[in-house]
């Protein structure tokens, strides 16, 4: 590739000819995190502790100490996160190939179905119908499931009931098919996990985690602004923090699109 093409891209970003859309929620203590049964270890919530704010603890400067679990806020899942991906090479956020951090995205709009049914599951048929309109999903692309879930208030967003969370996601067959038949790079959602809220009852349980990470692929969750992306043509930049042997990390996810 010619070097000036890259400079051209940078100029286009700068001029606005290429739009940059932020797909990230603000990392804050208020944002819901995944809830496991209390007998399991829990993801530490986001904590922001002030070191100083132009005060006696630091007269001219403001800064904070931060702590959070790897899987809080808008975050990235690496293959090592799930048992199916535990023995793969370069399966953690610090060792994954950097070229995987930039890739195009196919956005499948299921917001209408999700509005009707919080337990909506994406199927192969629905993806095939999408392909009939937008073409076959290319290998090494992100597939992003748009549900408009990110527009909800926090309680409806988590949607916890006596039998667990009720949020949309993919079914088992489509996850296996996307990984094995389409060779996707990863799968992204607006909800708290890449899997549906009730995915523990699918076979295998948590199929997005199972097949994505078993296949060395990635997950993105708690995305927003997917409604601003075209079905195809957006390029996603998702570079997790380089945490030693990290299973994932909060990150800034941005999309580039030609305006």
């Amino acid at each position: 590739m010619e070097a000036n093409k890259l400079v051209e891209l940078a100029s286009a970003v700068s001029s606005g000819a290429v739009r940059v859309v932020d797909l990230t929620f603000t990392l804050s203590p208020d944002f819901p995190v995944i809830v496991l049964p209390p007998e399991f270890g829990q993801a530490a919530p986001v904590r922001i502790q002030q070191i100083s704010r132009y005060d006696s603890a630091g007269p001219a400067w403001y800064w904070n100490n931060l702590s959070f679990g790897e899987h809080t806020g808008t975050h990235f899942d690496a293959p090592i996160h799930w048992f199916t991906g535990k023995d793969l090479p370069n399966n953690s956020v610090d060792t994954m190939p950097t070229r995987d951090m930039i890739a195009p995205a196919c956005v499948i709009d299921c917001s209408a179905q999700a509005a009707q049914d919080p337990d909506f599951l994406l199927t192969i048929e629905l993806v095939e119908a999408w392909e009939a309109r937008h073409g076959r999903i290319p290998a090494r692309n992100w597939v992003l499931l748009r549900t408009d879930w990110s527009k909800k208030g926090w309680r409806d967003y988590a949607n916890l009931r006596d039998d667990g969370a009720h949020t949309p996601g993919p079914n088992a067959a489509v996850m296996r098919w996307l990984v094995e038949e389409r060779g996707i790079l990863g799968f992204g959602t607006e909800t708290i996990g890449t899997d549906a809220g009730q995915a523990g009852h699918l076979d295998p349980p948590y199929p997005a985690h199972h097949f994505l990470h078993g296949g060395g692929r990635y997950g993105l969750q708690c995305l927003c602004n997917l409604d601003q992306l075209p079905a195809t043509g957006a390029v996603i930049m998702a570079a997790p923090l380089k945490i030693q042997n990290g299973s994932g990390s909060p990150l800034r996810v941005i999309a580039l699109l030609a305006s």
Partner: protein, 417 residues
């Protein structure tokens, strides 16, 4: 008979808030036996081991036979009011602001004559019931009440200075998700609290009993995650000037000590919630409470910590949890000293295992959440400082006083619950 106190009007924002002052606080070391008794709601006097004479005030030898065996023992409370005086222009700033102030001489049935603060319904030559109360300097003073219940008895002006009655006060219950928290809300409301603010962390999670809480007047659900600095500060920014009583019902109970756990994440959560939560609450609400100690009928009055009795001695079945509670107990002592200039009491209420899910496998006796809530209200109404709710807590207290090493061994002997 005394008139009931009126609900306080809204604060006049043009008038300076009166700063708290303290009654005289000097006491001899021996006298602190009364402080201890007042903290626990007991009435003690010194009694000579040789001749049996009761004496007061605290002294080093028996006034009758000069024996030095003058131990403090639980003593009968009945007495007769010999005479009373109304002090109209005291020289002490605290009493001057509260004058006229009634004091009297009480002849105890067991012997000594005691100078005491008087409830307004005490009459000369009539019987009185004596107690030691912690005044707003945190020291024990003798207080005489009528023998029998009188109308609006707890509204007495001098009694209210000694206590932290929830009536007309505004209370923050920090954790409204726990059973103890929910029972405390109900108990405080029925004790006459004007408003009970109910802290709820992670409002995106369902809240049991939410409809019931929202339906009641004077109960306000507020977002509060005590482990989160900003959440605590944000709430204090909103209601910090209206919290007269803070009831810290933080609850994070997990079993396990050191070896049967892996890593520190659970311990970290325990410390986050209990210990750092305590600090966040103190830094957010403490300064305002300390400043508002003389702010009218609904002045700031008390801070209550619901603690495990295993803060006093580790129960290895819940070893790390016990340690987190011990940390909070230590913080409470610092807080008590720091709030003292405001006259705000710090009440520690110790419980044994509570009858909730986290102590499911622990055999009875367990203390009911409602009993804990009732004890909170009673401690406030009586102005106590150390309260043991339920049989287990009381038993641990007694056994610790007898032989702490034995308690350690015995609790360690059943470290798997």
């Amino acid at each position: 008979m005394i008139d009931p106190i009126e609900p306080p009007p809204r604060k006049n924002p043009l008038i300076r808030t009166r700063l708290p002052t303290s009654p005289p606080k000097a006491r001899s070391r021996t006298s602190h036996a009364f402080t201890r008794a007042a903290a626990e709601g007991r009435f003690v006097l010194q009694r000579c081991g040789s001749c049996g004479t009761y004496c007061y005030p605290a002294r080093e030898a028996c006034p009758c036979c000069l024996s030095s065996a003058v131990a403090f023992v639980d003593a009968p409370r009945r007495g007769t009011l010999l005479s009373e005086t109304t002090v109209r222009v005291p020289s002490d700033v605290y009493f001057r602001e509260r004058a006229p102030w009634r004091v009297g001489l009480v002849k105890m049935e067991c012997g000594p004559i005691i100078v005491a603060h008087l409830h307004a319904d005490c009459e000369e030559s009539a019987g009185v019931k004596m107690s030691f109360q912690l005044d707003r300097s945190g020291q024990a003073v003798a207080f005489a009440s009528p023998e029998k219940e009188t109308p609006n008895m707890s509204d007495d002006r001098q009694w209210r200075e000694m206590t932290a009655d929830p009536k007309f006060r505004r209370v923050l219950v920090t954790n409204g998700r726990s059973a103890v928290g929910q029972e405390a809300v109900a108990a405080l409301k029925s004790a006459g609290a004007k408003t009970v603010f109910v802290g709820v962390a992670e409002p995106w999670k369902p809240l049991a009993g939410e409809k019931l809480l929202r339906a009641q007047e004077g109960i306000e659900i507020v977002p509060l995650d005590v482990a989160d600095e900003k959440s605590t500060m944000d709430l204090a920014a909103d209601i910090g000037g209206k919290v007269d009583i803070l009831v810290n019902t933080t609850e994070y109970i997990r079993s396990g000590g050191l070896l049967d756990r892996r890593g520190t994440s659970v311990a970290r959560d325990e410390i986050d919630q209990a210990y750092l939560g305590f600090i966040n609450l103190a830094q957010a609400f403490g300064p305002g409470m300390r400043m508002r100690g003389a702010d009218g009928v609904n002045n700031s009055a008390a801070w209550v910590n619901v603690l495990s009795v295993y803060a006093l001695v580790n129960w290895p079945a819940f070893g790390a949890y016990s340690a987190s509670q011990a940390g909070c107990l230590s913080l409470s002592h610092s807080l008590r000293a720091e709030l003292r200039p405001g006259g705000v009491k710090v009440i520690n209420l110790f419980t044994g295992p509570i009858d909730i899910e986290w102590f499911q496998t622990v055999p009875p006796p367990k203390v009911a959440p409602r009993a804990v809530a009732t004890a909170v209200v009673s401690a406030l109404q009586n102005g106590l400082e150390e309260v043991y709710a339920g049989d287990v807590a009381e038993e641990i207290r007694q056994r610790l006083a007898a032989n702490p090493k034995a308690v350690e061994r015995e609790l360690g002997g059943r470290y798997r619950s």
